[in-house]
Symmetry: D2
């Protein structure tokens, strides 16, 4: 493709995560990072120094008014995602929006309506769906290697970088929910419950436990916290045949356990209540495999996928459907015991 | 104390855990293990060979009828705990009952009534309360080292030894609940919710997540499973000053983290909503201490405590009050979504 | 086999390791532990209580004089191994001797002479050769899975149980040497050098590094210490195809790494000195496999092997040849710098 | 300090490690990175893009001829270090040379002579001496916290990036030797021996074990390899009072073990040879402390130190004396068994 075919990208926001997005769009072939908007003079100076070919601007208007801009990347605080994405769509730009795409299902629906009207791509920045380790687990599941997936649990824990605009659930759990939804083919949970508590700031939960119940006897549990002594990013998938641990902070991120418990089919034994029931089960405890998974920066794959969807018109892996499921679960995550959630002050 | 003062002990049941109890009572000074009852001829043969001074019997009658027996240790399947403990109390014997003490609060109340009537000791075998590592954490909490305890979470996971008489919650969680209740001074939770699923046997949950909400903004989460690829026995206590991890399978079981997040008291800053709130917090990330904790077999300390309570008449650390709290929580642990609990068959 | 065919065993010494040997011989079918000799009244009392069917004696004479005794197990301090083994052989008994078999090659030769004369079995207690994990690695090597074995290194570290009769090399390294010799088909090293130091007791090295050079460009390094902060028992085998780590204190003891560096055969490239040489190599970094290895007590397998060798007359896996190689290496392990070995006092 | 006071820096070589040096000198206050020389057009293009204020040149002449240049940083292949450093000194420039400073003590002496003549600074890039974790251990030693240092052992292992110009010893061990020399106050070892083997390239050892003997009964052992399944960078210091593990790839890099073995001073006991000697020792196994060590990029501290030494004229911590000791040990590291070192071809 000639340079004249390069997609022109503009990015809104260049704070904590934004520089990573800008770095990828500035270096990917087939696109050009033309603008980066940020209200902070310091951030604009950083942009100018780091991405000398991009123009740092302090307002979105110049971007939306420039007909050369094909797509807008939204990397601003979560509360502004919906409004900026909507404006960009209405200006005829494809959008890639950092997670969460919006703060309610109604907003997601509105973005979908805007995009459909103009045939534009909406993609949410659920990066982990583009993570080779997460994809590897997906191929194991799809190939039937794990048998039936029975339950998934996840811990995403750390000390700090607490936020005031969103709580630990909205900050971290979009990752876990996105991964689980991806693995479970975006089935909708039949029940969503949360337990959490706000210790540091009134009304902003620092720790949340999320319980998801899926059809066909599948359950999931997510534990997120920014008030924890250890850095943990670990997910476990228990299948009827094998089990998998995905530890994002380990050197070897995936471990496949050939472990399980099987019912023995023993003729006529079911009526024999005197025998200890335990004899009816066999425990499999076989090899553990740590497969070599080629490391590629997920954000780069995500950016390439966005460009590819713009060109081909295909639905992104983290498009409206996937993003709506994530927002829907977050929105449904009602506290189990609302009265106790009130901050003591 | 002369041999004539030795307390005479009889034990009911000598299956999986029973031999450990028998070994301790057979070797402790100040007591004599006179009887061990078990319906299985193989187990009685094992008893006779391993504890040659004890008499292996196949029924409890001889024990309850022998006026020389001071105390009865109940190590039978959970369903029979209440009835056997009650018979022993009615026969005038002190009782030490394996966890759980009973299967309902009503049963615990009945045992209390029986014991009060005759001035007898009832003690539940919540061994972890006698574990030096658990005790160490308790002293940290009581000394204010951790500040206010904010939340506790626990994982007790393994592959196998699944049971049919009780589910994973009733099998494992009595340990976690007992420890948490001990650390939190046996405060009663204001809410108890469970999420679980029965994969292997209809109606017997293999994995359960238990959410506890305590007064004063304290929460706890317990995850138990006998269908997990890894062996985990780990509890984390997050306090406002320090945090503690108690890992029962690690060589150094206790780690104290001088970590936390503190609000900065900045004069006049609370009205300045334009500044990012994050600047109002400071992150402490100091030393980690792995204290040397002297290893002593908890079961031995438990057995000694039982003998001591019989002699002095004092309430055991895991007496009726503690045991009732544990049973009460287990009993209150209603599934959040009963319909989904039904086995698919 | 009838009881009359049971081999009659007598054991000399029942101190630190002896009880493990006695437990196995007391419970194995096909043999009878008739005597245990120990000069200490406390140890004899322990023997009488723990192995009620054995006779505790304070001298070896009764054992050597009893024609019913078929075999003698020597578990006394290292310095007495040779003399006791020799007496037992001269009395016509097969012998199993704790490691090291003797303190010099000359002594080993003398034991071989005694045994040959009477057609008796001499076996050294190099337990690790009977360890299923060590055997697993051997099968990998023999099957060519690792390619050519290039080097092996081993760490056997701990704090304490220091001894005064032998140094850390003679105490620990017989294990490492025995394992390495077993893996390398008992090839004789062409060079043996040691570096060590005596910190606690004059003349008794607390830490030793042993360097072994084998024919065909194979090297080995052994690090033993009883003055170390961590408990380590870890061996690494680097082969030209794959590499193996055997960690005896890990839950999964064997890890097979599909890793290596291969020379690329690039036509005509060897003369191109301008290109960086690195391009001539390719790095393989594939899967890691933790195979399930069935745990069986090595000492039980060792004891069974001893009985089997007595019955069949076959050479034990840890017979004279293997034991001589171990003692020979220990004996050859001359300090590299003798003058610095002298204790400062 | 005004901009006119800024020291003008030129760098020779910008390959694997060079960019890190350039990045620091390009961003440090008080200096200006004016030139970067590299023979490769690709590297020069990289320099021009990454450090737009520096001039990429293909020869050193322009640098040595520019009187404005105060100091030269040498980051070329090891074989050229000496010659380039000498040329720079003769041109009146201070030099910072990547490790190793030179390939023989004679070369180091020659560099010292050149520097003394003109009052110039010569500093070797032994980065680890500026590593906060390494410095932390040094303060522990100097404060007597560890008691007498008894022995140190180090493992620096990895798979790959093998080199052809120098072997694994010269590539990795300068780090370990530099750290140990720093900790031991640059005492000179009384003996240096190596065991190594060349598996991949004839004459280039892939794995080396280095044994160092120091005065006063201190020993050290260094194991380096680029042919290992695991990435290890771990050093252990055993002192008479406490022991320290410095694990450079762990999240908490320093662990201080309050462990040791002490001789009991028991009056009159030394003559009692009947008692087991073991009773004369006591084992200390106390707390383990993982101190919080503030992370600062060592290379930045090294670069600042170089600038500071130029300004003040003081001897660098990794100046001639330290660098000579490292080179001397590497040079003395003669193979223990030269014949076996010959590559089999």
């Amino acid at each position: 493709m000639g340079r004249s075919d390069a997609l022109v990208i503009a990015q809104l926001g260049c704070g904590y995560w934004g520089p990573n997005l800008a770095r990828n769009f500035a270096s990917l072939p087939g696109c050009e990072l033309r603008y980066v908007a940020d209200p902070s003079p310091e951030r604009r100076a950083f942009v100018q120094e780091t991405f000398p070919k991009a123009i740092a601007v302090d307002t979105v208007d110049v971007i939306l008014d420039d007909p050369a801009v094909n797509a807008v990347v939204v990397a601003t605080p979560a509360a502004s995602h919906f409004m900026l994405a909507k404006q960009a769509l209405e200006a005829g730009k494809h959008v890639l929006v950092e997670k969460p795409l919006a703060t309610s299902v109604a907003e997601v629906d509105e973005l979908e309506r805007c995009a459909r009207l103009r045939g534009l791509v909406v993609m949410a920045g659920h990066t982990f769906v583009y993570n080779p380790a997460v994809r590897y687990v997906k191929t194991l599941i799809d190939a039937g290697e794990l048998g039936d997936v029975r339950y998934v649990y996840s811990q995403r824990l750390n000390l700090g970088r607490i936020r005031s605009d969103i709580d630990a659930l909205w900050n971290f759990a979009p990752h876990d929910i996105s991964i689980i939804q991806y693995w479970l083919d975006d089935h909708e949970p039949t029940a969503v419950q949360r337990q959490g508590m706000d210790f540091i700031q009134r009304g902003v939960d620092d720790v949340v436990f999320l319980n998801l119940t899926y059809p066909n006897k599948v359950i999931a549990n997510i534990h997120v916290s920014w008030l924890d002594p250890q850095k943990v990013r670990k997910m476990t998938v228990v299948g009827s045949k094998k089990m998998v641990v995905y530890d994002d902070v380990a050197e070897d991120k995936i471990a496949i356990y050939d472990k399980g418990i099987d019912r023995k089919a023993v003729l006529g034994q079911h009526m024999d209540f005197d025998r200890p029931m335990r004899a009816d089960f066999s425990y499999r405890s076989g090899d553990i495999l740590l497969p070599h998974v080629q490391l590629v920066e997920p954000l780069r794959l995500e950016a390439e996928h966005f460009l590819d969807c713009i060109r081909t018109g295909k639905e992104p892996a983290t498009g409206i459907t996937h993003a709506r499921a994530v927002v829907s679960i977050l929105q449904r995550a009602k506290a189990m015991h609302a009265p106790t959630q009130a901050a003591a002050g």
